[in-house]
Protein backbone atom coordinates (compact mmCIF):
# COMPACT_ATOMS: atom_id res chain seq x y z
CA UNK A 1 0.00 0.00 0.00
CA UNK A 2 1.41 3.33 -1.06
CA UNK A 3 1.28 6.20 1.38
CA UNK A 4 -1.68 8.43 0.54
CA UNK A 5 0.54 11.52 0.90
CA UNK A 6 3.04 10.33 -1.69
CA UNK A 7 2.80 11.92 -5.18
CA UNK A 8 1.25 8.79 -6.59
CA UNK A 9 -1.30 8.62 -3.78
CA UNK A 10 -2.33 12.26 -4.28
CA UNK A 11 -2.69 11.82 -8.05
CA UNK A 12 -4.77 8.67 -7.51
CA UNK A 13 -7.06 10.36 -4.98
CA UNK A 14 -7.62 13.38 -7.25
CA UNK A 15 -8.42 11.06 -10.15
CA UNK A 16 -10.87 9.09 -8.00
CA UNK A 17 -12.55 12.30 -6.80
CA UNK A 18 -13.01 13.48 -10.41
CA UNK A 19 -14.46 10.11 -11.43
CA UNK A 20 -16.76 10.07 -8.39
CA UNK A 21 -18.04 13.56 -9.17
CA UNK A 22 -18.69 12.64 -12.79
CA UNK A 23 -20.48 9.44 -11.82
CA UNK A 24 -22.68 11.11 -9.20
CA UNK A 25 -23.74 13.72 -11.75
CA UNK A 26 -24.55 10.93 -14.20
CA UNK A 27 -26.63 8.62 -12.01
CA UNK A 28 -29.21 11.29 -11.23
CA UNK A 29 -29.94 11.48 -14.97
CA UNK A 30 -30.54 7.74 -15.45
CA UNK A 31 -34.06 6.78 -14.41
CA UNK A 32 -34.22 3.81 -12.06
CA UNK A 33 -37.06 1.30 -12.31
CA UNK A 34 -38.41 2.47 -15.67
CA UNK A 35 -36.08 1.37 -18.46
CA UNK A 36 -36.86 3.29 -21.60
CA UNK A 37 -35.55 0.84 -24.17
CA UNK A 38 -37.51 0.07 -27.29
CA UNK A 39 -35.48 -2.99 -28.16
CA UNK A 40 -35.95 -4.70 -24.76
CA UNK A 41 -39.74 -4.36 -24.86
CA UNK A 42 -39.76 -5.56 -28.47
CA UNK A 43 -37.86 -8.71 -27.46
CA UNK A 44 -40.20 -9.35 -24.51
CA UNK A 45 -43.35 -8.88 -26.60
CA UNK A 46 -42.30 -10.74 -29.76
CA UNK A 47 -39.59 -13.13 -28.52
CA UNK A 48 -41.95 -16.04 -27.95
CA UNK A 49 -43.48 -15.94 -31.42
CA UNK A 50 -40.27 -15.19 -33.30
CA UNK A 51 -37.88 -17.63 -31.63
CA UNK A 52 -40.18 -20.09 -29.82
CA UNK A 53 -38.22 -19.85 -26.55
CA UNK A 54 -40.04 -19.22 -23.26
CA UNK A 55 -36.91 -17.70 -21.68
CA UNK A 56 -36.51 -14.31 -23.33
CA UNK A 57 -32.92 -13.94 -22.13
CA UNK A 58 -32.09 -17.13 -24.04
CA UNK A 59 -33.83 -15.85 -27.14
CA UNK A 60 -31.63 -12.73 -26.94
CA UNK A 61 -28.39 -14.60 -26.23
CA UNK A 62 -28.72 -17.39 -28.79
CA UNK A 63 -31.37 -15.98 -31.12
CA UNK A 64 -31.39 -12.26 -31.82
CA UNK A 65 -27.82 -11.63 -30.71
CA UNK A 66 -26.25 -15.03 -31.51
CA UNK A 67 -23.46 -13.43 -33.52
CA UNK A 68 -22.38 -11.39 -30.46
CA UNK A 69 -22.48 -14.56 -28.38
CA UNK A 70 -20.18 -16.21 -30.91
CA UNK A 71 -17.79 -13.29 -30.41
CA UNK A 72 -17.95 -13.64 -26.64
CA UNK A 73 -17.35 -17.38 -26.84
CA UNK A 74 -14.30 -16.53 -28.96
CA UNK A 75 -13.03 -14.16 -26.23
CA UNK A 76 -13.46 -16.98 -23.74
CA UNK A 77 -11.56 -19.35 -26.03
CA UNK A 78 -8.70 -16.86 -26.45
CA UNK A 79 -8.45 -16.39 -22.67
CA UNK A 80 -8.28 -20.16 -22.10
CA UNK A 81 -5.75 -20.54 -24.94
CA UNK A 82 -3.61 -17.73 -23.51
CA UNK A 83 -3.68 -19.40 -20.11
CA UNK A 84 -2.54 -22.74 -21.47
CA UNK A 85 0.15 -20.99 -23.56
CA UNK A 86 1.47 -19.10 -20.53
CA UNK A 87 1.46 -22.10 -18.21
CA UNK A 88 2.79 -24.65 -20.72
CA UNK A 89 6.13 -22.93 -21.38
CA UNK A 90 8.05 -25.47 -19.39
CA UNK A 91 6.70 -28.78 -18.24
CA UNK A 92 8.53 -29.81 -15.15
CA UNK A 93 7.42 -33.14 -13.79
CA UNK A 94 7.83 -32.34 -10.16
CA UNK A 95 6.07 -34.60 -7.74
CA UNK A 96 4.80 -32.62 -4.81
CA UNK A 97 3.95 -34.38 -1.61
CA UNK A 98 0.16 -34.47 -1.42
CA UNK A 99 -1.70 -35.42 1.66
CA UNK A 100 -4.24 -38.20 1.27
CA UNK A 101 -7.73 -36.83 1.67
CA UNK A 102 -9.86 -38.37 4.35
CA UNK A 103 -12.45 -41.05 3.59
CA UNK A 104 -15.38 -38.72 4.27
CA UNK A 105 -14.07 -36.05 1.88
CA UNK A 106 -13.19 -38.38 -0.97
CA UNK A 107 -16.43 -40.37 -0.70
CA UNK A 108 -18.47 -37.18 -0.52
CA UNK A 109 -16.77 -35.77 -3.61
CA UNK A 110 -17.24 -39.01 -5.53
CA UNK A 111 -20.92 -39.14 -4.56
CA UNK A 112 -21.60 -35.50 -5.47
CA UNK A 113 -19.68 -35.36 -8.76
CA UNK A 114 -22.29 -37.03 -11.05
CA UNK A 115 -25.14 -35.03 -9.52
CA UNK A 116 -23.36 -31.73 -10.12
CA UNK A 117 -22.65 -32.79 -13.71
CA UNK A 118 -26.34 -33.70 -14.08
CA UNK A 119 -27.41 -30.31 -12.73
CA UNK A 120 -25.10 -28.55 -15.19
CA UNK A 121 -26.44 -30.60 -18.11
CA UNK A 122 -30.03 -29.90 -17.00
CA UNK A 123 -29.29 -26.17 -16.85
CA UNK A 124 -28.01 -25.95 -20.40
CA UNK A 125 -30.44 -28.40 -22.00
CA UNK A 126 -33.44 -26.56 -20.50
CA UNK A 127 -31.92 -23.13 -21.11
CA UNK A 128 -34.75 -22.05 -23.42
CA UNK A 129 -37.49 -22.97 -20.91
CA UNK A 130 -36.25 -22.23 -17.37
CA UNK A 131 -33.67 -19.91 -15.80
CA UNK A 132 -30.26 -21.13 -16.82
CA UNK A 133 -28.38 -21.74 -20.01
CA UNK A 134 -25.08 -22.70 -21.54
CA UNK A 135 -22.87 -20.29 -19.64
CA UNK A 136 -24.37 -21.10 -16.24
CA UNK A 137 -24.47 -24.85 -16.91
CA UNK A 138 -20.86 -24.75 -18.09
CA UNK A 139 -19.80 -22.94 -14.92
CA UNK A 140 -21.59 -25.59 -12.82
CA UNK A 141 -19.76 -28.36 -14.70
CA UNK A 142 -16.48 -26.51 -14.10
CA UNK A 143 -17.27 -26.42 -10.38
CA UNK A 144 -17.76 -30.22 -10.46
CA UNK A 145 -14.22 -30.62 -11.82
CA UNK A 146 -12.94 -28.24 -9.14
CA UNK A 147 -14.61 -30.39 -6.48
CA UNK A 148 -12.81 -33.47 -7.79
CA UNK A 149 -9.46 -31.67 -7.68
CA UNK A 150 -10.08 -30.49 -4.12
CA UNK A 151 -11.23 -33.91 -2.94
CA UNK A 152 -8.60 -35.98 -4.75
CA UNK A 153 -5.34 -34.00 -5.05
CA UNK A 154 -3.74 -36.85 -7.02
CA UNK A 155 -6.57 -37.30 -9.53
CA UNK A 156 -6.24 -35.75 -13.02
CA UNK A 157 -8.68 -35.20 -15.86
CA UNK A 158 -7.42 -35.46 -19.41
CA UNK A 159 -6.61 -32.04 -20.89
CA UNK A 160 -6.76 -33.62 -24.34
CA UNK A 161 -10.37 -34.54 -23.63
CA UNK A 162 -11.28 -31.03 -22.48
CA UNK A 163 -9.51 -29.45 -25.46
CA UNK A 164 -11.32 -31.74 -27.92
CA UNK A 165 -14.71 -31.10 -26.28
CA UNK A 166 -14.07 -27.36 -26.29
CA UNK A 167 -13.12 -27.34 -29.99
CA UNK A 168 -16.12 -29.50 -30.91
CA UNK A 169 -18.45 -27.14 -29.03
CA UNK A 170 -17.12 -24.09 -30.85
CA UNK A 171 -17.18 -25.92 -34.18
CA UNK A 172 -20.81 -27.01 -33.63
CA UNK A 173 -21.79 -23.37 -33.00
CA UNK A 174 -20.16 -22.18 -36.25
CA UNK A 175 -21.48 -25.12 -38.30
CA UNK A 176 -25.04 -24.49 -37.05
CA UNK A 177 -24.64 -20.90 -38.15
CA UNK A 178 -23.33 -21.91 -41.58
CA UNK A 179 -26.18 -24.40 -42.10
CA UNK A 180 -28.58 -21.53 -41.36
CA UNK A 181 -26.72 -19.51 -43.96
CA UNK A 182 -27.21 -22.22 -46.57
CA UNK A 183 -30.70 -23.55 -45.74
CA UNK A 184 -32.65 -20.89 -43.91
CA UNK A 185 -33.34 -17.30 -44.78
CA UNK A 186 -29.74 -16.79 -45.94
CA UNK A 187 -28.23 -14.99 -42.99
CA UNK A 188 -25.67 -16.30 -40.53
CA UNK A 189 -27.18 -18.20 -37.56
CA UNK A 190 -30.73 -18.04 -38.88
CA UNK A 191 -33.16 -20.35 -37.09
CA UNK A 192 -33.77 -23.00 -39.77
CA UNK A 193 -35.32 -25.75 -37.59
CA UNK A 194 -39.06 -25.82 -36.83
CA UNK A 195 -40.06 -23.78 -33.77
CA UNK A 196 -42.08 -26.61 -32.27
CA UNK A 197 -44.59 -26.24 -29.46
CA UNK A 198 -43.97 -23.52 -26.90
CA UNK A 199 -42.82 -24.77 -23.43
CA UNK A 200 -41.85 -28.22 -24.76
CA UNK A 201 -38.26 -29.49 -24.62
CA UNK A 202 -37.95 -29.87 -28.41
CA UNK A 203 -38.82 -26.34 -29.35
CA UNK A 204 -37.20 -23.10 -30.39
CA UNK A 205 -35.30 -24.61 -33.33
CA UNK A 206 -31.52 -24.25 -33.07
CA UNK A 207 -31.53 -22.26 -29.79
CA UNK A 208 -31.17 -25.28 -27.44
CA UNK A 209 -28.58 -26.82 -29.77
CA UNK A 210 -26.48 -23.64 -29.60
CA UNK A 211 -26.83 -23.58 -25.81
CA UNK A 212 -25.76 -27.25 -25.54
CA UNK A 213 -22.67 -26.43 -27.65
CA UNK A 214 -21.91 -23.40 -25.45
CA UNK A 215 -22.45 -25.42 -22.27
CA UNK A 216 -20.05 -28.17 -23.34
CA UNK A 217 -17.52 -25.57 -24.47
CA UNK A 218 -17.63 -23.50 -21.29
CA UNK A 219 -17.57 -26.58 -19.05
CA UNK A 220 -14.58 -28.05 -20.90
CA UNK A 221 -12.81 -24.68 -20.84
CA UNK A 222 -13.22 -24.32 -17.08
CA UNK A 223 -12.14 -27.93 -16.59
CA UNK A 224 -8.99 -27.30 -18.63
CA UNK A 225 -8.23 -24.04 -16.80
CA UNK A 226 -8.62 -25.71 -13.40
CA UNK A 227 -6.44 -28.64 -14.48
CA UNK A 228 -3.64 -26.41 -15.76
CA UNK A 229 -3.62 -24.17 -12.70
CA UNK A 230 -3.65 -27.20 -10.37
CA UNK A 231 -0.78 -28.74 -12.32
CA UNK A 232 1.21 -25.51 -12.10
CA UNK A 233 0.84 -25.13 -8.35
CA UNK A 234 1.38 -28.74 -7.44
Amino acid sequence: MKDLRSPRGIIALVLLAVIAAGLSLTITEIPFGSPDTKVGSYYVENGREETGAANIVTSVVTGYRALDTLGEVTVLFIAAMGLSAVLAIEKKKRKREVEESSLVLSTGCRALFPFILLLGAYLFIHGHLTPGGGFQGGAVIGSAFLLVYLGYPERRISTTGTDVTESLGGLAFVILGLIGFAVGSSYFLSNFLPKGELYSLFSAGILPLIYIAIGLKVGAEFGGIIDRMMEETR
Binding site: V57, A80, I225
Partner: protein, 120 residues
Protein backbone atom coordinates in the same frame (compact mmCIF):
# COMPACT_ATOMS: atom_id res chain seq x y z
CA UNK B 1 -34.65 8.68 1.78
CA UNK B 2 -36.81 8.51 -1.31
CA UNK B 3 -33.81 9.41 -3.44
CA UNK B 4 -31.79 6.65 -1.77
CA UNK B 5 -34.45 3.98 -2.33
CA UNK B 6 -34.52 4.77 -6.03
CA UNK B 7 -30.81 5.01 -6.62
CA UNK B 8 -29.30 2.67 -4.05
CA UNK B 9 -28.30 0.15 -6.72
CA UNK B 10 -26.51 2.79 -8.79
CA UNK B 11 -24.75 4.11 -5.70
CA UNK B 12 -23.69 0.57 -4.75
CA UNK B 13 -22.51 -0.19 -8.26
CA UNK B 14 -20.44 2.98 -8.56
CA UNK B 15 -19.15 2.45 -5.02
CA UNK B 16 -17.84 -0.94 -6.14
CA UNK B 17 -16.28 0.65 -9.26
CA UNK B 18 -14.54 3.29 -7.13
CA UNK B 19 -13.30 0.72 -4.60
CA UNK B 20 -11.91 -1.36 -7.47
CA UNK B 21 -10.17 1.66 -9.03
CA UNK B 22 -8.73 2.65 -5.64
CA UNK B 23 -7.24 -0.83 -5.19
CA UNK B 24 -5.84 -0.89 -8.75
CA UNK B 25 -4.23 2.53 -8.39
CA UNK B 26 -2.79 2.27 -4.90
CA UNK B 27 -2.04 -1.33 -4.01
CA UNK B 28 1.33 -2.72 -4.96
CA UNK B 29 0.61 -6.41 -4.42
CA UNK B 30 -0.27 -8.00 -7.75
CA UNK B 31 -2.88 -10.38 -6.31
CA UNK B 32 -4.64 -7.46 -4.64
CA UNK B 33 -4.66 -5.58 -7.96
CA UNK B 34 -6.34 -8.57 -9.60
CA UNK B 35 -8.92 -8.63 -6.79
CA UNK B 36 -9.51 -4.93 -7.51
CA UNK B 37 -10.09 -5.65 -11.19
CA UNK B 38 -12.65 -8.27 -10.18
CA UNK B 39 -14.46 -5.87 -7.82
CA UNK B 40 -14.61 -3.27 -10.63
CA UNK B 41 -16.03 -5.94 -12.92
CA UNK B 42 -18.74 -6.75 -10.36
CA UNK B 43 -19.65 -3.07 -10.04
CA UNK B 44 -20.09 -2.69 -13.79
CA UNK B 45 -22.25 -5.84 -13.93
CA UNK B 46 -24.46 -4.58 -11.07
CA UNK B 47 -24.87 -1.24 -12.82
CA UNK B 48 -25.92 -2.87 -16.10
CA UNK B 49 -28.48 -5.06 -14.34
CA UNK B 50 -29.95 -2.13 -12.39
CA UNK B 51 -30.36 -0.04 -15.55
CA UNK B 52 -32.70 -2.70 -16.94
CA UNK B 53 -34.74 -3.05 -13.74
CA UNK B 54 -38.44 -2.31 -13.91
CA UNK B 55 -40.39 -1.42 -10.78
CA UNK B 56 -41.99 -4.64 -9.44
CA UNK B 57 -40.88 -6.38 -12.63
CA UNK B 58 -40.49 -10.14 -13.01
CA UNK B 59 -37.84 -12.23 -14.72
CA UNK B 60 -38.33 -12.25 -18.50
CA UNK B 61 -39.34 -15.92 -18.61
CA UNK B 62 -42.77 -17.16 -19.61
CA UNK B 63 -44.20 -20.29 -17.99
CA UNK B 64 -47.25 -22.37 -18.84
CA UNK B 65 -50.26 -21.64 -16.68
CA UNK B 66 -48.85 -18.40 -15.27
CA UNK B 67 -50.37 -15.18 -16.52
CA UNK B 68 -47.65 -12.54 -16.72
CA UNK B 69 -48.02 -9.44 -18.81
CA UNK B 70 -45.10 -8.87 -21.15
CA UNK B 71 -45.06 -5.22 -20.07
CA UNK B 72 -44.27 -6.20 -16.44
CA UNK B 73 -41.00 -7.95 -17.30
CA UNK B 74 -37.57 -6.45 -16.79
CA UNK B 75 -35.38 -5.59 -19.78
CA UNK B 76 -33.74 -8.85 -21.01
CA UNK B 77 -30.89 -7.20 -22.96
CA UNK B 78 -28.68 -6.18 -19.98
CA UNK B 79 -29.27 -9.60 -18.41
CA UNK B 80 -28.05 -11.30 -21.59
CA UNK B 81 -24.99 -9.02 -21.62
CA UNK B 82 -24.09 -9.62 -17.98
CA UNK B 83 -24.66 -13.37 -18.33
CA UNK B 84 -21.75 -13.63 -20.75
CA UNK B 85 -19.69 -10.91 -19.05
CA UNK B 86 -19.56 -12.88 -15.79
CA UNK B 87 -18.13 -15.97 -17.48
CA UNK B 88 -15.65 -13.89 -19.48
CA UNK B 89 -14.65 -12.10 -16.27
CA UNK B 90 -13.93 -15.45 -14.61
CA UNK B 91 -11.73 -16.65 -17.48
CA UNK B 92 -9.85 -13.32 -17.70
CA UNK B 93 -9.26 -13.63 -13.95
CA UNK B 94 -7.77 -17.08 -14.54
CA UNK B 95 -5.52 -15.70 -17.31
CA UNK B 96 -4.32 -12.87 -15.03
CA UNK B 97 -3.60 -15.31 -12.20
CA UNK B 98 -1.61 -17.59 -14.54
CA UNK B 99 0.52 -14.59 -15.59
CA UNK B 100 0.97 -13.82 -11.89
CA UNK B 101 2.23 -17.35 -11.24
CA UNK B 102 4.83 -16.90 -14.01
CA UNK B 103 5.85 -13.44 -12.72
CA UNK B 104 6.36 -14.82 -9.25
CA UNK B 105 8.48 -17.63 -10.65
CA UNK B 106 10.63 -15.09 -12.53
CA UNK B 107 11.04 -12.30 -9.96
CA UNK B 108 10.38 -14.13 -6.71
CA UNK B 109 8.09 -11.34 -5.50
CA UNK B 110 4.57 -10.05 -6.11
CA UNK B 111 5.37 -6.44 -5.21
CA UNK B 112 4.81 -4.29 -8.29
CA UNK B 113 7.31 -1.64 -7.12
CA UNK B 114 10.07 -4.21 -6.99
CA UNK B 115 9.06 -5.72 -10.35
CA UNK B 116 8.93 -2.38 -12.19
CA UNK B 117 11.79 -0.75 -10.28
CA UNK B 118 9.45 2.04 -9.32
CA UNK B 119 10.76 4.91 -7.19
CA UNK B 120 7.65 6.93 -6.27
Amino acid sequence: MNFLSGYIYYIGAFGLVLIGLFIILLKSNLVKVIIGINILDTGVNLFLISVGYLDRGTAPIFAPGVQIEASSMVDPVPQALVLTAIVIGASVLALALSLTIKLYGHYGTLNLEDIRGQRW
